[in-house]
Symmetry: D2
Subunit: 328 residues, 4 copies
């Protein structure tokens, strides 16, 4: 049996709790959260205890830490988990600071523990199938990637203020997809953007609409278009043009109903937001984590991936702020 | 807590077991199967006991029986469960004999117990959403229904021989969909068919391809086309034309990947077969059953629905065998 | 140069006139219509003369007659054209009476002239491509055909009264598609139907919604569903299941615009009605006619096809009226 | 009657000739081409004369010049046509040199003649419908535009050498679409690109794959991705995100046939190349030209649009060559 400590009993913590208790041989032992009520409720639901970080890290039976607490706690928890030789499953981002993220990366490497960073999109059935087919050579070598990544609506401005900005908060997923799909590292990054949906976002020093271009060392090209607001819901698509064709990953819909009336022929809007769209991805991600632990095999989304995506987010932020192309 | 006895530890029994243990407050107490090894394996997986029917029906703590054993055992188990005042979840069909099915219907009515018959398609997200939108008047009154229902391949001929024939074995689901969607009862049934995929099916006295037409009392029209073999997989669609438009239920696919190459532009084939296509339907169906028990509300697919669908299957069989239109 | 006489200067006559003047080496010499104003207008537009049937048939320079006048004039014009050794292009149906249609068939055979009947759907790019791929063996042998054929709205009741009924007026096209695609002749026909959209149609002795099933000599199955009213426009689809897969012919749309809003994700409704949907089919049909004349090759839609489709329409009418299966 | 002189009897000249002779009241009087054989063949087909530029411009009956000759002749022909007070229909680009293009613009303005530049995409049924719906406010204010523009294969390297480079030769259409759809002028342009499909293109000093980003004065964003090679054919899509939704323009296909087999579910590839995809656009464009002349109304794609698109192509070329963001 693998005992696990979960840090964070909020929205995403609950998702992870539900998925981890379904893994064969896995027990949720501790729920750790500064919000005692939330911790208690979640612990009770799955027969776990409310615990402190000290308890969790000090308990030799605990083999893994699932970190789903707020971003500013990630680095410290990763370091403590690594020191305690626990396997780590940590939500993205590693940290908002690249130097702290690199310290975490070093700590994980020194401890020799498994560390999965929660880029859950790589575990989405559609995205993962596309990647497999690309890797199998179905469209030859990748040449161009276009990512469309739009949220149904912006988060509260108070969240935006502490989010690290749109590139670290939202596009970090897209930077990870870029690295995963294009199969080459960025040589230059250009980012521009605007505040088009809500002036309060500009007041908070951020933007809500961005256009990013990455050119890789081999000359491959990627474009990412992002908005905090799509009236029709959560838009999560990408397409890759290769030397022998194109693979496209489309949106998922709740149903396959089509309606034809005097007004229109219509189908479902995309799944509303990430909890719906990536429900299977989160489940697959957790299964992958414990499978990797069992097989002592590498994880698909390592802390190195976490650091690399953050480097791109930093470069994009610089490009946007300083209105220049950033070479990497 | 609701203790449950499961009858049948085969393919569909395993699906139901997995779904029922996920219901809050529900415990799988007994697994009953003549195949002791299968019963033992499933019981162990979910912490249940292997038991006999006598044990299960005699245990006052058992509140519900989930019947997933072979068709020829359904009637006896329904009667015993009703007599023991257990709520019943029974796979379709009630029985191959209409008279025995009616006896079960009477037994259930006399005992006043809940009895859900496993027409799982009504719980499919796409089909259920279509039904809701139809009921909400989105396309006015239904006028015509076209059902396409094709399996990826025929079952073994030994199964076909005891299956009751294609109308009771395969189209019974389509007859249920017809009743659910058209909102009127059949006045006449015409069925024809052929053996086109495997002569052994004809030797077994059955057909593998059918075309059924139903006219209702209000003059509404339904056509069902069915085949035991679709090279591209499990094809489960229907469309309803109403006075103000049309609603179509399309196939589900494993992913939303599209590939464009020099050869073609292609997307996924439909989910392979019923276990994949109706995975969510089976989960929703089980949740609905326990929800109905908790709320003492009627089930969406009652034993009356089971008997009505069987009546249509009998009428279609007669129409096909005797080459005549059957009035109901 | 091929001189041509056109009979009928109404809606469909104008379409044919526009297409025939585009054929290289073809001249529209006479326009014949009892409505002198209509004949005059059309003749002037294309530099032709208004003429009488006597003039047209008596002019040795006229090599072909295009008959687009009202149905009740077809038989007489076919016979006169055949007698005058003109090639014939005649709108469907040959005649409402099967015996008169057979007389025309005989007259054409005796004269040895080319006679194309205007089943324009066989010249539609989508339908024709499907047929070619089917003939090339892409899905093996055809087993089942499902035709959906719905008009955007019913014609005036005064037209319906003289139309010969829905089977001869509307489904005759579908019967032709059936023969063309299934590759076998009908052994039995079952037709049922209702008046669901307008009681005046019932008063006129007709129906507006039909469900037809045909079983062929080889046991292949076809189902046709038809309505005089589809709120969303002209619905012209069919699909054929074969031993190795399925081919589907979908609707054409005016544009490829998709709109995603808070309300829905929608695309275009189908082309509004036959003039729009079959614009290319009519053009291809006319080109095929003159191409067949030039090459002395058979036409794709002969008068034999016209008679056969009428036989099926007659059988369906009998089946519906007498509530019985009609053997052929 | 409007007499017209056509300059250029090559591939695109033939298309325009076929379309202009179909305009009511329009006569093709002269075909002018240095290739006398090509001019003769085309002139004969439509009953025109082979003529010289002097003849054409000197003939007072000639009211319009359609310029479809090689790019290096456009400027001189536009100036002569303007001087002769002929209306002008000229293929894109106006010229490869921005200063010469501006001289033409001035000449046209001074002469006060109509001058349509052949950005035929604005006349494509799908693109034009999208524009109308956008203008009607269906998705609110435009915020982001993504253009995908890929050819099925690169032209000969000898052509590329004199083409002015990919931005003037290929993306000039996309720059025009950008201006038309986004409804604001560019403030900055960033372009990058690579030679990925054929090293000979790099040797010729050009690239075959580009990624362009434009930010407008109002902060709206556009991304254009382009390749000289898409294995699956001519890919011509764009999508615009607005404050209330998204409009997408998809590819056109030759037919609406779908095939489902054991291998895949597939539909048609896009129309092969621009002659097929934009056949209707070319026809609409020519009709629009003569309609605008008749009504003395402005043309949809003026020489000002031609100059503006060239400015963007110049800016993109500079951005790519100098690896910098170009402010406009």
């Amino acid at each position: 049996m693998t005992d696990v400590a979960l840090f964070g009993a909020g929205r995403i913590g609950k998702i992870h709790a539900g998925n981890l208790v379904r893994q064969p041989g896995v027990t949720l032992k501790y729920v750790v959260d500064v919000n005692a009520a939330a911790a208690g409720e979640l612990a009770q639901k799955y027969g776990a205890k409310v615990g402190s970080a000290d308890q969790a890290f000090g308990d030799a039976a605990v083999k893994a830490a699932v970190i789903a607490s707020s971003t500013d706690t990630h680095a410290e928890l990763i370091r403590r988990a690594a020191a305690a030789k626990k396997a780590i499953f940590c939500e993205k981002p590693v940290d908002l600071s690249l130097s702290r993220a690199r310290e975490c990366q070093q700590a994980v490497a020194d401890a020799g523990v498994t560390c999965l960073i929660g880029f859950q999109r790589r575990y989405d059935p559609t995205f993962a199938a596309l990647k497999e087919r690309l890797a199998a050579g179905e469209i030859g070598e990748p040449e161009m990637l276009v990512i469309t990544s739009r949220d149904p609506g912006a988060p509260p401005v108070d969240y935006i203020k502490v989010s690290g900005g749109i590139f670290k908060d939202m596009l970090i997923h897209d930077f990870d997809i870029f690295r995963w799909i294009v199969g080459d590292e960025a040589a230059s990054v250009y980012a521009t953007g605007s505040c088009l949906t809500d002036p309060a976002i500009a007041t908070a020093g951020d933007i809500d609409s961005t256009a990013v271009t990455i050119r890789t060392r081999k000359g491959r090209l990627a474009q990412i278009n992002t908005s905090r607001r799509a009236a029709y819901g959560y838009d999560q698509r990408f397409e890759v043009l290769g030397s022998k064709g194109m693979l496209q990953a489309g949106n998922h819909t709740p149903t396959e109903v089509t309606a034809a009336t005097a007004a229109s022929v219509s189908c479902d809007k995309p799944e509303h937001f990430f909890l719906e769209r990536y429900a299977k991805a989160y489940a697959n991600e957790m299964a992958h984590f414990f499978d990797a632990l069992a097989k002592r095999s590498p994880v698909r989304t390592s802390i190195d991936d976490g650091v690399r995506a953050l480097e791109l987010a930093d470069a994009a932020t610089t490009s946007w702020r300083e209105k220049r192309i950033v070479e990497l």
